[in-house]
Structures are given as C-alpha cells and as structure tokens.
Amino acid sequence: MMDEGIELSLTIAQIIQRLRGSHLHSQIERQAKECLHQPDVKLESLKEDVRSFLKTSGWERKLQNAVYRELHIQLPPRHPPAPPEHLKEPLAYMRKAQASWEKRVLKSLNSMSTELGVPLAHMRPAAEQKELTNKWNEMGTDEPDLSRFRPVYAPKDFLEVLIGLRNPNHDSSEDISARSHWGLIQVPLNVRDIPHLREAYSELNLTSGQMGIDDHALIHPAVLCTHSLFCLHLSCVVVMEEDSAAAQQYSRQGCPTGLRADLWALILNATNQPQDVMHYEQLKAGVIQHNLLVDNLIYKDVKLTASNDDYYFVFEDFLYQVLLCFSRDTAVLEHFKYNSATPPKSYIQGEIISVIPFHGFSMYVAPLCFLYNEPSKLYNVFREMYIRYFFRLHSISSHPSGILSLCLQFERLLQTHLPQLFYHLRQIGVQPLRLAFKWMVRAFSGYLSTDQLLLLWDRILGYDSLEVVAVLAAAVFAFRAENLMEVTSLASAEAVLADLSTLKVMPLIQVFLFATAM
C-alpha cells in the first residue's frame, strides 16, 4: 500500500534507467543536437523549442512508445524493494516448482544427449557451414534422420506437473469447497468470473462492432461500408501516427487484415531497425557455426507439427530460420531478469541456449508467417510475442496470464456456468481440462482456422492478457454442450471436440461472456 507519488517516482526512475544508453536515447540526443541548427530554435526558449521540435518530428512519439513498452514489461516497484525473485514470482512454492521443472527438462535433454551419443553442441565442419549458408532459405528440403530424437516433453507431461502442484499452507483436510475437488487444479489462484470479465472486456459487448463479424459480406453494403470504412480509416490513422497505445486499444475490436501486421508491430514496438537486422544476422551466423542438439528437436517439431498442417506447411523454411536463431538468442534471457519465471535454459560449451522447445513449440511462430515475410521482422515480432505472452503458457507461475491461472479459470467457468456438463463428464471419467489443455497451451494455434486464430490473437494483444484463451476454451464447451451431454466415453468426447476449424471465435466469446444467464 504505497503512496502513489512515491510509486510513480520509482517507476519513472526505473524506466529512465532502462532507456538510458539505449539506441533510442542516442538517436534522440543526436536529433536534439541537430535541431539546434534550425533557425526557429532560440536560446531564450531552448527548452520549449527543442521539445516542440521533437514532438513534430515524431521522436516524442517514438519515446512514448518505448516508455509504453517498458511499462508493459515493468513490474510495480516495491518499497522497500522486494528481492528480484519475489518480483518475478511472489509465491515461494511456485518458484520451487518452476525450478524443479526446469531441472527436470534439462536433465531430460542431457540424458538424451548421452543416450544418443550426440553432443549438446559442436562446431560444424567448414564444408557443412558452407552448405548450410547456401541452403539457408530452403532448409525444409533437408530430410535428416530424426527418428532417434524425441521431444523433450509434451504438453500432457506439463499438465501432470500442474495437477500435482500443492500449496504447503493449504488446508485440504476438510471438504471446504466441493468445487476444488471437482477439477484438476488444486491451487487457489485469483481468477475472474463472468461479471468481472464483462467489465474488463466491455469492448466485446454484443452491441459493439467487431472486425471479422460485422464486416462480413452478408451485411447490407451501405451499413457495411460506413462501419468498415470508419474502422479502416481509424486504423490507418493509428498506424500513421505510430501510436502504440492507440494501436493496442484499437486491436480490442479486431484488426483489419491489411493493417494487422503494422498494428501488431506497433503494439509490440517491434521495429526493424538496422541494429535489429544486425542482431538477427549475428544469430544466423551462430546457427551456421554451431550445431546444437536442440536444433534437431526443432527440426523434428517443425516436421511433426507445422509441416503436417494444411495452413502452415508452406512456411516450413521460415520456421527453421526463426526457431534456430531463437534458441540461441541470449537477449531473450535478459528480459527474464525483470519478469517472471525463467524458461528452461542451459549452458552449452559456454553458450547459453535460451529456450528448450517442446512438442508443438513451432506453432507459436507459424501463424505469424501470414503477416510477415521478412525473416528479421518476423523474428522480432515473434520474440516480442514470446517474451510477453507465450512463455507464460509453459512456465509455472501465479501470474493471471500464466497457464495455471488459465487452467483454473477454465475449470471454474465451466463449473459455475455449465455445472451439469461438468458433472456429466466427470461421471464418465473425463476431466474437461484434459481435453482443453492442448488448445490453451498453444493459444489455439493449429486448432482454429488461421483467420479466426489471428482474430483471437488480436484480443490477446489488445487486452495484454491471455485470459481470452481460457474464455474461448470454456465457450467452445458451451457451444458443443448438447453433443457432449450425450457422449458416454472419453473417446467420443474427444471426437466431439476434435475439429475446431469451422468455429467463429468472436461470436462464441461474445455469447459466452454477455449472453450467459447469471
């Protein structure tokens, strides 16, 4: 309970610390020095003139965007400052669980290396390096023998860990709440129910126009034109103004297809500056020089998932280009110093690899290939998406967007609003979470059709939260409730939920949030 003024001062100081010495800082310095040559910058009003110059030339906006990004990944400061691990994750038993999960993953990787006799990292011979450089844009044509490699872990292994999580201070002796024994997640996290969700997601109200529904061709052209044109115009203005905050607000009602790439890049502040391109080239050079064991896992994952998918197989080459670089990008770890759980990492011959992929990991990248075709831009956007959202889907934390909270929220929504369905499924030995988990852990990538998936991810960016993923999972169950009530086995329940490719995401979410009887 801090004085707001003090909290603000500390936040400002921290943001300045982070931005000082950044490339943007030196660019603005240079611009400010150069503007002194301008005749309308006078010494007596130096301060105001420089400020108004920076404003009109768009540099103030760039600074605003950078600050906005820092605010997003910034945690509220504490006074006295809490230890850094507490800022990442306040609950001690969660930190412990995440640490032991990381150890387990690493051990699995190490034992795979020993078993197969493949080193974790080795330098490529010169001939191989040359070959790879030539084949960089078509790595998909390679058919290496990957039969010996298996994924380090699959989502269902991770689910078992989440289910087994217990708070040592939690009293489970008494039957306090029958609900907590219905579902699989036994950790009492704060999750929001429909009344709170209605407030938080008010832009998704049934009366508000949504991109993807209300610009559909079936609507009368006159009505369609006005609304669509208005939205399109608004989004053009947002993009031209290069305003991150406005782009985020706009994205809540969906992005127009043609502008989505720019809007997302704005929201994530993923610019493609020369230094970003250089960073990507450096990572690429790393890929060519060394071969990591993890590379084989990436190959295998792409071959098994994205390459088999009707929508994404064309992007196979891009996926290698992004993921192979990503696994070597130690800058990703820099972010995790400030924010939440550290993803499993390891030291390999002095090089840290940042993320150990699991089965299905490549599906985080695949949808982005529809938006960006320049590898370094694609890479930057993916990296921002990962360090803001996707990593929470396979880390153990108490964060409201963490997979644990999403699972609990899904179960609670179902228990509260579809109790009969929940009860029926339990009766036939089916836990709803086991059916929905694979959707949530991939943020529905690979399960929805691409245009619907992108509309869902618009909202993730717009609301800066993954909650909408849990809401959609519950909404899908609500939609197919009738069929599910008639099934009598796990196999038939899975069959009912097997194909989501025909679903329209926004109507489902809108109806579930705003039309459910309370």
């Binding site: 309970m1 004085d3 400002i12 020095k33 002194l36 600074l63 009492p188 996290l189």
Partner: protein, 255 residues
C-alpha cells in the same frame, strides 16, 4: 497508469552540465530499522479445553520497542504470510505529560489479500507509511499488530520480517527539477556597462552560425559583395527588413 510524455536525459551542445531528473526520496536507504523484540504471536482460540479449541482466525503480535526510548515511526514494513487483514494499534506515551501511556488505533483492517481464500497478496511485501496512519505515530512504546485470516483454506498465517523505521527530519530536499531549468538559471547579470546584452548577442551569433552552415551546404561562385554596417543597427546583423535578399542562396546586403 500514467503515461510519461517526455523524459529525456541528454547533454546540450553548449556543454552545460548534464542534468538528471531528481526525485524526492522519502526514506533514504541507509535508515536503519529500530531494534526491538517481538513476542511470540498469540493465536486466539475459541473454546475451553485444549481438545475443543477451534482457530478463531485472529492472531496478535506485540512489538515492544526499546524501553525508555519511544520512537517516532516513519514506516512499518513486513512480509505477509497468508494474513488477510491487519490492524495496527500503538501505545503512545507523551513525554511532556505525566499521563499514562494510551493505546490508539493507527490503522484498522488493512486488507493484505484481495480475497482471503485466494493467493493474491498472500506472500507480498508491504509498507505502512506514517501518512497512511490515522494518528501521528510519535512517542510510540509498543506496536500491536492484530492479524485476521477468516478463511479456513490455510493452515496458518502470520507476518514475517517485521521492521520499524524511525522518522528522521528530512534534509532540505532537492526538488523535482526539470533538467532544463538549470540551463536558464542565470538570474544575476554580471555588470555589463557599455557592452551589448548577452542574450541578443548569442541569438545573433546563433543565426550567423546557422547561416554559415547554410552557406557551406550551398556553395556558389557568385560574389557575396561587401556588406556595410548600417547606421540604424548597433551591431552586425544578418537579416532584417532593411536588407535586400536575393531570391537565391546568396544574400546581398544593401548599402
């Protein structure tokens, strides 16, 4: 969340001092907490016999400050462990009056957990500043913390790492100063008899400098021509209504 519109930190081209944004620091980091003894927390029980007791969800923690040295409290900090609400009561002894020490409530039922049944806030660090208290926490002899946790979900609850920081008279603080206000600081003008006003000189120098930059980028072979200091002006000037400007890059000065 406040959106900060500009917070630049840079050096001016005139090599004035680099300034930084300063902030009021309320509690310097080098303030030591007060040494005190904490009695064992007393969990209130309901029921008579030992076998029959039920947890009431209330716990009292007494913090005795050093005897004979009443403290003026600046802030109280602690780490929570599943306490839902905390009430702070203070035993104050006014040194001037002979009256016995009196208990008063500084803060009643401060919520530490959003919802007593769920995790949020359960292990967080908290600070209670003197400005948040309903009474002045001066001449305090004893602090009593009454912890409440009504939910049956938890096996135990407490506060950890309790620290009390004394109030110190603040130094004359440097105000939150905008980094550029230092630049226009010169209030006292040195004695300038017979010399032109420095502000005018520097702005015209700046204009001349801008002109040289323009000239450098726009080199021509045309002659500039002589320029005269017109009697209507007290100093050399570059452009004013009385001079004729060529439509092109080179400025010609009228006689």
């Amino acid at each position: 969340m406040a959106v900060i519109t500009s917070c630049c930190v840079w050096q001016t081209g005139h090599s004035l001092q680099t300034s930084h944004l300063f902030f009021q620091t309320m509690t310097p980091d080098d303030t030591k907490p007060v040494n005190f003894t904490v009695k064992a927390p007393v969990y209130l029980q309901i029921g008579d016999t030992k076998a029959d007791t039920a947890h009431s969800g209330v716990c009292v923690v007494d913090v005795n400050l050093p005897f004979g040295k009443p403290v003026n409290i600046e802030e109280v900090t602690f780490k929570n462990y599943y306490t839902a609400y905390v009430t702070v009561r203070l035993l104050r002894r006014n040194p001037e009056q002979e009256a016995p020490a009196k208990w008063c409530t500084a803060l009643r039922d401060l919520p530490l957990m959003d919802n007593p049944h769920t995790e949020r806030g359960s292990q967080d660090y908290y600070t209670i500043h003197r400005t948040q208290m309903q009474v002045e926490p001066d001449h305090v002899v004893c602090v009593r913390l009454i912890l409440r946790q009504p939910s049956l979900a938890w096996l135990t609850f407490s506060l950890e790492d309790i620290k009390i920081f004394p109030h110190t008279e603040p130094d004359p603080e440097k105000e939150v100063s905008d980094w550029l206000s230092d630049l226009t600081l010169i209030d006292q003008h040195p004695d300038l008899e017979g010399l032109p006003d420095p502000q005018t000189v520097s702005s015209s120098i700046q204009q001349m400098w801008a002109l040289t930059e323009v000239m450098q980028t726009n080199q021509t072979t045309a002659s500039i021509g002589r320029f005269d200091v017109s009697e209507t002006h007290s100093q050399p000037h570059l452009s004013c209504n009385e001079c004729v400007h060529d439509g092109g890059d080179v400025m010609k000065f009228g006689r």
